[in-house]
């Protein structure tokens, strides 16, 4: 007989089944969103070496610092010999002492000393310091400020000596050491934690408000047309007829085509020279000129909305049609008997019973429309002159064209907050119906 194998009871099995998905959701969704919030509180730029890491405290870039320190000592010694006046010699000694004092304070911490030695060894072998833990050393904010201040005053002293010196070679030597002190100064990094400064900046940023306005305008107008047209189409095709399959397929294809591909197609149709839609609309005098569509802000918004309505009305119609088909026909028969006309039937039976399907469809569509990216990015690129930019496009450009992750994250958090607000309003409207039937 086989031994009875270890078995999970229903509850344990349930948790074991849910856990992997929950963990994934936390790791790939919730954690990154929290990170975005965190990033938005920093002056965090990938293309600026002094701000390419998020730092709560001041840090020293040991790679640069140790390398510079090695040269500073020997150069200052050499300068002490070339200096002519006693006063200049005196100044140079003071500088030497000052730097030595700060440096010994820095390496008085055993751990720091170890790291400095390690970095030194790597540098001696001309190897880059790739390990960020080794490269950056957290230091006291006051110490960093003090050291920076000292270094910049030493730099000025040396520049002053260089300027007063008559000898050209000596002048170059002094200037070189002054520059070295300047670069050492820059290796001592200030904390780039700035709290809510990015938010304050965007609160006053015209381009942000414009992109938010564009996004809202796009969302409201296109979702409105999609709802009205979708309802109309659903009501018309909610009957038995030949060729339903054809209709369903033709309705699904625009939905299934990648938005970026659809945007390229419409870009061709709207093209000022060879675009057929631009040409026909121009001939029919609906638009001021065939180049209006893609070369003006208003035309751009119109083009974007038209393309979106084309792509998503079918989806809306399908959702509403599914809702329509759950309404029992007996209701209409009964109202026919009572002598109600078609309009009364529509407003008293169809609409009230469709309410929840329509609200759910609206929720999904509104959120989708609000985070619009592909369509605008491919069709107009946000142009001309940022006039059709959506907030997602603005956030993307800030993060990846300007490499500014701090400000870009701020914009993406703004998108996130708007989306949260919209869903909150809808969920209030829909109530718990969304979950009904799914949990018991």
């Amino acid at each position: 007989m086989k031994k009875r194998r270890f078995q999970l009871n229903e509850k344990q099995l349930g948790y074991a089944f849910v856990l992997p998905s929950l963990l994934l959701v936390f790791v790939v969704i919730l954690w990154p969103v929290a990170q975005s919030f965190w990033n938005s509180m920093f002056d965090y730029r990938l293309n600026d070496p002094t701000r390419s890491e998020k730092m709560m405290d001041a840090n020293i870039d040991l790679e640069t610092y140790v390398d510079n320190y090695f040269f500073i000592e020997s150069q200052l010694d050499a300068l002490a010999d070339t200096a002519v006046g006693d006063q200049d010699k005196q100044t140079i000694h003071e500088i030497e002492d000052g730097i030595e004092k700060h440096h010994s304070e820095l390496i008085s911490d055993k751990q720091v000393k170890e790291k400095v030695d390690k970095v030194d060894k790597l540098l001696m072998r001309y190897k880059p310091v790739n390990n960020t833990d080794l490269k950056y050393q957290k230091v006291d904010n006051d110490f960093a400020a003090d050291y920076r201040k000292a270094l910049s005053s030493y730099e000025q002293d040396l520049v002053a000596i260089a300027e007063s010196s008559g000898d050209k070679d000596a002048q170059a030597d002094f200037q070189q050491t002054a520059d070295l002190l300047g670069s050492t100064n820059e290796a001592i990094l200030k904390s780039n934690f700035i709290g809510f400064d990015n938010y304050k900046k965007y609160f006053k940023d015209k381009r942000m408000w414009q992109s938010l306005g564009n996004t809202t305008f796009f969302t409201v107008i296109s979702v409105f047309f999609e709802l009205v047209l979708g309802l109309l189409v659903a009501l018309l095709i909610n009957r038995t007829f030949k060729g339903r399959g054809l209709i369903r397929a033709s309705v699904l294809i625009p939905w299934a085509v990648p938005t970026a591909v659809a945007a390229m197609m419409w870009g061709f149709l709207y093209d000022g020279q060879s675009g057929i839609v631009a040409h026909y609309l121009d001939v029919l005098k609906i638009i001021p000129g065939s180049s209006w569509l893609l070369s003006t802000g208003d035309g751009g918004l119109f083009s974007i909305i038209l393309a979106d309505v084309w792509k998503t009305t079918p989806y809306m119609a399908l959702l509403i049609l599914a809702g329509l088909q759950t309404i029992p026909g007996s209701l209409y028969e009964a109202s026919d008997v009572d002598g109600a006309n078609k309009f009364q039937q529509f407003f008293n039976i169809t609409l009230p019973l469709l309410k929840s399907s329509i609200l759910v469809a609206l929720l999904f569509r509104t959120l989708d429309a609000f985070r619009v990216f592909d369509l605008i990015y491919v069709l107009t690129g946000g142009g001309p002159a940022n006039s059709t930019e959506s907030i997602s496009v603005y956030a993307y450009k800030t993060m990846f064209a300007q490499q500014n992750f701090g400000e870009g994250s701020t914009l993406s958090v703004i998108v996130f907050l708007c989306v949260a607000l919209i869903s909150f309003i809808y969920v209030k409207l829909i109530g718990s119906e969304l979950f009904a039937g799914r949990t018991k």
Partner: protein, 273 residues
């Protein structure tokens, strides 16, 4: 309802289908025109049809490579997320665990998160793992879209399976896991398959992550690849329309075969029955 369809109705249908399909029709007609004609006339039909644009679409850019990339990434994403999601959805609908409402709420909320809010940390994670310009580098971010979607749709499908079958299995002495594997999973297979199709389409169409993470041309997916056909000096509409036709054909086939399933999957999340 059984309203009869008259001539007027069919005229309306034809106009509707024509309007919806017009961009495809026009792009197809353009793709077989000689390049000179595209820029010089608005004639619908060309007298000299040619496949030059198709040849150019394949040779100017690695279109086949884009399609392969999209296919691999979408398939892996679909398999992974549907596997994880079917366990989770089963537990959420059928097993006596606590906090179901909360978990479903988290799932629904995360499916509504704007992708741009995940973009920069995800970019850092993928870069740190050394996965930029690889398939896995896209599969990880795609899970953020596909997992909540799959759980949400699958939960509806599992809900529809009658309880009686489960109970009789229990009475026959099946363990909970056996019930899941032998009774529920086969019954839910059509729903799982439908979810798979929807997730596949969602992954195939994704643009933002693909644009930022796989920036090397030989790792680009179809949507990004197509959007890069424009060059700085001229827009090769012939190549673009041919490429569009080529990448649309698989979607049309998929839709034609699975239209019923797609519709049931799309509507199951939003309509109560």
């Amino acid at each position: 309802m059984n309203k009869r369809a008259g001539i007027g109705f069919y005229v309306f249908l034809i106009i509707f289908v024509f309007l919806v399909m017009f961009p495809f029709i026009w792009v197809f007609l353009t793709s077989i025109k000689p390049v000179g004609e595209i820029f010089s006339s608005f004639n619908w039909f060309t007298k000299n049809p040619t496949l030059d644009s198709y040849v150019a679409a394949f040779t100017q850019r690695p279109l086949l490579r884009y399609m392969l990339n999209s296919f691999v990434v979408s398939i892996v994403t679909t398999l992974l997320s549907v596997a994880f999601a079917s366990f989770a959805a089963y537990a959420l609908t059928r097993l006596p665990i606590k906090g179901k409402g909360l978990i479903l709420g988290i799932v629904l909320a995360s499916s509504m998160f704007p992708q741009v809010a995940i973009l920069s940390p995800m970019f850092n994670i993928v870069t740190d793992l050394g996965l930029r310009n690889s398939y896995l580098g896209l599969v990880i971010p795609y899970i953020t879209i596909s997992l909540p979607l799959s759980i949400w749709i699958l939960a509806t499908f599992f809900q529809k399976i009658p309880y009686e079958l489960e109970e009789s299995a229990k009475l026959d002495g099946a363990s909970p896991f056996q019930t899941f594997r032998k009774i529920i999973f086969p019954l839910a297979a059509p729903g799982v398959f439908t979810t798979g199709i929807l997730v596949f389409i969602a992954a195939w169409n994704e643009y933002l992550f693909a644009l930022t993470i796989n920036s090397n041309d030989s790792w680009r997916t179809v949507p990004v690849g197509i959007s890069m056909y424009t060059s700085e000096f001229s827009i090769p509409w012939g190549d673009i329309s041919a490429a569009t036709v080529i990448v649309t054909i698989p979607i049309v086939i998929l839709v034609l075969i699975f239209q019923r399933r797609i519709v049931s999957g799309l509507t199951s999340g939003s309509v109560k029955e």
